[in-house]
Subunit: 298 residues, 4 copies
């Protein structure tokens, strides 16, 4: 089928390749004309047969808002927009309502896979009405891995991005699990060969996983990870997962701790621990500065 | 080679089978004579050629202490004891020293694999001197999975059980990661088909793992896990992992949170939350019972 | 001075009393005519001299939105609205903008004190422009405790509620600190007289506080808190504190854990722990249901 | 009464002064002869009338073990040793048994108060048999604050230090509560005057406490705590509290998180976060180094 694809960065570019390899006709648009197949969003839309289907693959927030806003003007009754970026599920609900005003359908689609996706396929989590998902199904089938990796998570807009968001929250805590275990193994003299321990876990254990494969590979190259800084960014999805858990009164200690560890990794010094130090200083002895506590003498 | 195997429960019994399938001669001993190949520990030892190698597969703590104590009297210079149970690494150090008094070697070996091990092999993490590990290597080779799953973690007794212990700590937090994510997905209306979401994650995602396979299978059978109680036991290893982290000043928030979640799951009511309720009651209004707080009037 | 006071529940009613005791003229309005000094919001506003100052003391969310909406129509240039309820700081910013369209000033004021406030005064945390705070200062002076307990936290709307929100977040973790300590003391045989331990801590220790006073009182009445359930509600403020921390990349492990403990206290059974149980069941033995994991045999 | 006092550092020295002010006869011993009232432990014991009562105030672990060992040789039937240091409760049980072999009584006594204790009294938490506590009661009465601050926590050795240990665990989480709240307030533009916010909380709020007084004082001197590093040591007691909680299956999320925050504050770089960075690097694109994950293609 024909697909308009907005955003041809590393991710979008690879997806275009995978779709073309599967026989689909992709008209890409990117602000960078070196990457683009069309001169403008309007030009891209013009090149599509009806019903026009457009996949948006740009950063969440303003870039996505702006693109959807513009597409609302360019598309019409029966057309379809798919947001494959990392939008918050609450944004999807707004975008769907906005497009529905002109009879344009909307599907949100969380995408996992990174650089491996081109070759192995992308895991896809979609949300939206059955009819909209059905329209785009050939595209989903071409993008996903052969053996699975696709789910239509719910009829409402946002269901797909919600599922992908939770996927990322889980990812944070799984990574933290390995990381905490590794730190402890490194901290003791007893275990002399930590990289081999991790490598051995890839077979027959309860904790084998793709992330373990990755960490094993990293440890083969750099036995004590000396070349790396203990610094980790976080995407919006980890944050939104914990915030959604709070909205729904779901206890989420491990995922929240994993998110907070990333925040802390980016601080040169911990403000909170300055406050701890300040209190410790006070009760350690600056007797002159602090009056006797109310009630201390009974 | 010949091996004495003490403890023929589900785990020990399956290991005996796997070893015999690999061509080894196993003389098993179990207090339950229906399972045992020998009438007593002494009888078992008598049936072994020198150097005698005995694998202990009984519960950690007193059963293991007692068995090793008895073996110390039955074995001699050049013989070898392997503790394949779930002993704490500090116990291994004591057992090794005890056996060394009579020239008996010691290897500790953490074993992962459960009911899958018979068919797929057991992941093995060993600790002890090279010479002792070399003696038992044919046994390890028969027990481990074909493609890996064996590590000699360190020369000192306890290294193997320490690695296995950390494995279990990591396992706790990985399970908690999926569990928290599942709870959030179940809590929202948006995602209508949670079992399919989990199933889809098995291909192409960052979080695919053997534990995810297990949870997917469970969700296929019971979409909302209605047949299960939210109750989880913990083995010593999870506890020891966090306690070792504290001994070594290693922050371990996610694994600790996962351990605490298991403790909480076994409480009918939370004592801590009674104390919270008590304080809330007090400042909510039982004015008669509480005197005005010191300093409250400035 | 004259004050219109909307919302005469336990809190608002006590505040009216304290203000009248201080010589102010309060015209109260409540939907419940038994409590009200006026027949309608319009009637209340009519009875105030210019510049009219109205204190809103109704639940956060829709009740506050509605009241402020209505007041926008009833008040005019130079008048002032104070929101003394528990609004989220983001609501304050919207309310201030809304009222400013008609030249009406706005101050948000977080209030702490509960049933003790009538006698001891209410701690007040305000946000808003200096001129607006100055207008209402006589009211604040009458409500606050004698020796302090008032702060003008910032010039922007929401600063007061933000400070109050963080106060509540801190409160959650302080309560949790005592609660966890109490649970541990109750769990051991060693300490025979836990209520006396808590009572003794009220003098000379690092952890003496008003909350400790409250818990001590509760333990005097019910040595093991047997009459209480381990159940604790949470107000919006605890949730918003953690969500704001996430928005600002602030690690907040202790406060988040305290919030999650309250969520968990209200669950009959833990969904997350069902998922843990499900995974444990799978690897414990239902060999028939689970195919051999990919890669398990190397 | 007469008391032998071993260890005349800042804490022991102040206690000697307070006891003498109360009319007791204290014979101090310290390895530093400039501080000591006696030339040796034996000399100190010689100067005491029977029954001899000796207060040990030296660091936990080997110094306390050594002192008690020596006192066991110097004292006899009916004499009494009080350990006022920070020993682990499990050490107390060993010390009590050791001294009982020669008929010497033992009381463990956790002491809180720091530099404030000389003037305001020390909070005391004791463990041991009634008769032993009764012998030392005049000493406890002189040391404690006037209005309370003393508890006999249990008849068994270790009860006092256990109570003191939990006190310190609670202290960690209370400090963390204020610290996390402070960090969030500092992180937002909205609240312009954070030191004044903290100062205002000292009156009329739920969170007023002695620790809040200390932090307020610190913030008066250094509005943003710029002179301090976010670094905090931890004493054994915080660690033992969490380890004891784990031994007793008590969930202790907030206190554990507070302990871990101190560990992290002393790390130049986080090893765990290096492992996170390593995994992120791998799935970000070093495609050449990582083989396609098992099962990724279904």
């Amino acid at each position: 089928m024909h697909l308009g694809l907005v955003g041809l960065g590393k991710m979008g570019g690879n997806m275009r390749t995978r779709l073309r390899n599967a026989g689909h006709t992709v008209v890409g648009y990117d602000r960078n004309q070196d990457l683009s197949d069309s001169t403008s969003l309007a030009d891209m839309v013009d090149q599509l047969p009806e019903p026009k289907v457009v996949w948006v693959m740009v950063p969440a927030g303003d870039p996505t808002h702006g693109t959807i806003d513009e597409l609302k003007g360019l598309l019409g009754e029966g057309d379809l927009v798919i947001d494959g970026g990392n939008s918050r599920y609450t944004d999807d609900q707004a975008h769907a309502a906005q497009l529905a005003e002109r009879g344009i359908g909307f599907v949100d689609c969380g995408v996992s896979g990174g650089v491996w996706g081109l070759e192995n396929g992308y895991a896809l989590m979609c949300g939206g009405a059955d009819e909209f998902v059905a329209t785009a199904q050939p595209i989903f089938d071409a993008l996903k891995p052969d053996g699975g990796g696709f789910v239509h998570a719910g009829q409402k807009a946002g269901a797909g991005h919600f599922a992908k968001m939770v996927h990322n929250g889980i990812e944070y805590a799984m990574m933290q699990a390995y990381a905490e275990g590794w730190e402890l193994l490194e901290a003791v003299d007893l275990v002399e060969n930590v990289p081999e321990v991790f490598a051995s876990w890839r077979e027959g254990t309860v904790i084998r996983s793709w992330l373990l494969d990755l960490l094993t590979t990293a440890l083969e190259d750099d036995h004590h990870l000396e070349a790396l800084e203990g610094w980790a960014d976080d995407s919006g999805e980890g944050r939104w997962t914990v915030q959604a858990a709070i909205d729904h009164a779901v206890p989420m200690n491990a995922i929240a701790a994993s998110l907070f560890a990333r925040f802390a990794s980016r601080q040169d010094d911990s403000p909170a621990m300055k406050a701890i130090a300040a209190m410790r200083n006070q009760f350690g002895g600056h007797a002159v500065h602090v009056g006797p506590p109310a009630g201390a003498q009974g």
